[in-house]
């Protein structure tokens, strides 16, 4: 037991170290090597953080959905721990995205916030999953909290495409995607150094994400262990 815990700890340490290295490399590449944007200048460099954070947040919500579905199906505590950990990180990365976006929006659009479709969608995602965390914390019975949260994790996920559609019809102002475009290949319309910087940043964020996820998951496990120990000793 002790040895396996040590091995797990070591693996996590390696993951964290790699994440740190990749993020430093990504920052160097995006701040020093990649050229400034033709229209927006230096401020565009925030994109190297903005895009990876929102993609990581989406990944997180997908994991909430998977964990929730697996929990309802198999009733194993580990799936619920995964969904809970992923939901917390999803909220964190969505909030980061909104903050970065505001900092980018002020110099380019002239406002911190605007009711554009993609911004609105991101804010709604934040609200849905903040509600998810609140729901969990307000139900005392642990099993009930887990099932209720799993249901919300599933219906929330199915609701996202509908929310997406409705807010897009409502309004669109956000700049269209400039890397993945139907008319050109990615390397034809974006400077290769920009793509490299973005790719490294993205890998860094993914590593960081899984590092945090494993830590948060472990916290959940430890809470279970403490509860089991308490029951055993009749505290």
């Amino acid at each position: 037991m002790a040895q396996s815990t040590a091995a797990v700890k070591k693996r996590k340490g390696v993951l964290g170290g790699l994440a740190l290295l990749a993020i430093i490399a990504g920052l160097c590449w995006s701040l020093l090597i990649a050229p400034p944007d033709g229209y927006q200048g230096e401020v565009q460099r925030i994109m190297y953080l903005h895009l990876p954070s929102i993609l990581t947040a989406y990944l997180s919500y997908f994991l909430v959905f998977i964990g929730s579905g697996m929990y309802l199906w198999k009733r194993e505590k580990k799936d619920d721990l995964l969904a809970h950990a992923a939901a917390e990180l999803g909220v964190l990365f969505t909030a980061l995205t909104i903050v970065e976006g505001s900092i980018w929006g002020k110099p380019t659009w002239g406002v911190w916030w605007t009711w554009d479709a993609r911004l609105t969608l991101t804010a709604i995602l934040l609200l849905i999953y903040a509600g998810y965390l609140m729901l969990r914390s307000l139900i005392d019975d642990e099993q009930r909290a887990a099932s209720a949260a799993a249901i919300l994790g599933i219906i929330g996920f199915f609701d996202i495409p509908l929310i997406h559609m409705s807010v897009y019809w409502w309004r669109t102002l956000h700049q269209p995607p400039s890397i993945l475009r139907p008319d050109k290949k990615p390397w034809e319309n974006v400077h290769p150094d920009m793509l490299t910087a973005l790719a490294i940043s993205f890998v860094g964020f993914l590593l960081l994400y899984f590092y945090l996820l494993s830590l948060r998951y472990r916290v959940g496990e430890m809470r279970q262990e403490i509860k089991a120990l308490r029951l055993e000793r009749g505290v």
Partner: protein, 225 residues
């Protein structure tokens, strides 16, 4: 068939209880009317602006009154442990979902049938001929609200401060219904016809179908004790 029969029995039980007591219906109705007065004081609306704002104000009133109804939705079952009895009986959980959704829908729609004409009278609107189309949109929106509302009411059933938690969880999920109904009603009031409102109407119908289906399928897990 048994699903529909069970739904019918459960729904008639709820409606009979409501007819005897009239708790939810009366409070929802008075709250809806009260909101119209509050809106009037808050906005102090001129006659030409009121037609523009009518859909939004009406739907705000419906959202609040509907939430009031949802918070009470499982009250009768909770009071005497009736929910356990219901769950012990050989009953399709999908039927329980449909009956509860239907019950809240009936309450809300009755309130809406009174509040919309009342709005027209209180704010001196003249477009009475548009009411049938507006009722159709309201009906579809209310179905969407009640399906997802019943699921959220059921999962917040055993939470602390559930009355506060319910709208917190429900409203963000409700954005498609809120946007679609209000835009739909706006374009009907502006153009007098349904053509421009069609995409929104389709979205609304899609929402209703998706969450009715999901509700029937997953209510088994939602309501377990």
């Amino acid at each position: 068939m048994t699903l529909l029969r069970q739904t019918y029995l459960l729904l008639s039980k709820d409606l009979l209880l409501e007819l005897r007591r009239r708790d939810s219906l009366l409070t929802m109705f008075f709250f809806g009317t009260l909101l119209l007065f509050v809106f009037h004081f808050a906005f102090d609306l001129s006659p030409d602006r009121i037609a523009e704002l009518a859909p939004a104000l009406l739907w705000l009133a419906f959202l609040f009154t509907g939430t009031l109804g949802l918070a009470q939705l499982f009250q009768a079952e909770r009071d005497n442990h009736c929910l356990d009895a219901l769950l012990l009986s050989p009953l399709d959980r999908g039927a329980l979902f449909l009956a509860k959704t239907g019950f809240n829908f009936v309450l809300m729609f009755v309130v809406e049938l009174v509040v919309i004409p009342l709005f027209w009278i209180l704010f001196n609107l003249s477009a009475w001929n548009l009411l049938p189309q507006l009722f159709l949109v309201t009906l579809l929106g209310t179905v969407g609200f009640c399906t997802l509302g019943t699921i959220t009411a059921a999962i917040t059933l055993r939470a602390r401060a559930k009355e506060l938690l319910l709208p917190l969880v429900l409203f963000p999920l409700m954005i498609p219904v809120i946007l679609a109904t209000i835009r739909c009603m706006e374009s009907i009031m502006k153009t007098g016809g349904m053509t421009e409102a069609m995409p929104w109407l389709r979205l609304l119908i899609g929402f209703d179908v998706i969450f009715l289906t999901i509700g029937i399928l997953i209510f088994d897990w939602v309501i377990e004790s």
